[in-house]
Symmetry: C2
Subunit: 192 residues, 2 copies
Amino acid sequence: MNYPCGIKKKKTVSYSNRGMNLENDINVTNEYYLNNKIAVIHKKPVPITIVNVDYPSRYEAVIKEAYFKTPSTTDYNGIYRGKYIDFEAKETKNKTCFPISNIHNHQIKHLKNIIEMGGIGFLIVRFSSLNETYLLKGIDLFKHIEDNHKSIPYNYFKEKGYLINMKINPRLDYLKILDDIYFGGENHEKTC
Amino acid sequence: MNYPCGIKKKKTVSYSNRGMNLENDINVTNEYYLNNKIAVIHKKPVPITIVNVDYPSRYEAVIKEAYFKTPSTTDYNGIYRGKYIDFEAKETKNKTCFPISNIHNHQIKHLKNIIEMGGIGFLIVRFSSLNETYLLKGIDLFKHIEDNHKSIPYNYFKEKGYLINMKINPRLDYLKILDDIYFGGENHEKTC
């Protein structure tokens, strides 16, 4: 079933796998970029507050109590073609829009700071029911949020965003989009 | 008591506060940089593997079992003057040298990748017994490691590194050093 943006579905299943497919696609893509010396982009660890750690042996530590923290930055950053790259990636099952509540205010503020500093900041959103993944420039994200704080229609991604094609390798070649929009269409792929 | 590099002191005390002073100094410095729109540099969260999470209520999650992972990147990265910045920060009580075992191989490889990509990569080391903090360029770190995998003598930091002065605000102004060595001596501080 699909729910319109803003209406919350009752949570009856574990959310531990939520977003894992996109995350996995980005991680293997980043690995490809790293191994082929195209870019160095990593996912940041999940921010947590550690309350209690057990040391059953000298070299082993077991975290026994910790809590998830609200992230103050985006999940991914790194360097590509000498430029600082920063983005957040989210998956939604919704077919008509992307609920902005999926992104924390801190993360939007962070993307603004990055772009102000001369970095490249953007959002990757997968509409998993449609099997489409879009890259939306930070600037277009901010423009939309000024008008509508709740959600971004799917059509806005179609109009302002860039569809990222799935391939064998690299699986989700989002840097090709950056080539087109930030580096004047040059391609990072080595031609024969 | 001080121990020469390579000789391990018996660990009888908790290490949870190890490196916290330098970390704290860097964090408040980064906050100053952020608030004054000088740079956006953040510490990455500690990488962990989560094994077991309890959900006592719908909105609360308690991590009940997790383990520390070996970091595959450095602790700090961000953007300054349009450039990608990446560094690791370590504290040692040793007065004569810095044991390289404090840095993981992955982290050194990561710094190499960053510099190859055109980023600025370096190491910040505090000799806490001497109350001196040095910035060592990645390139000088790699040069030394080629000759000696075990430790970097204090004198190498004095010779090749850059002493970072402590101030009121920003507390540990390491970007001033980058101004001098990477940006031709220009200063980020606004002059009256």
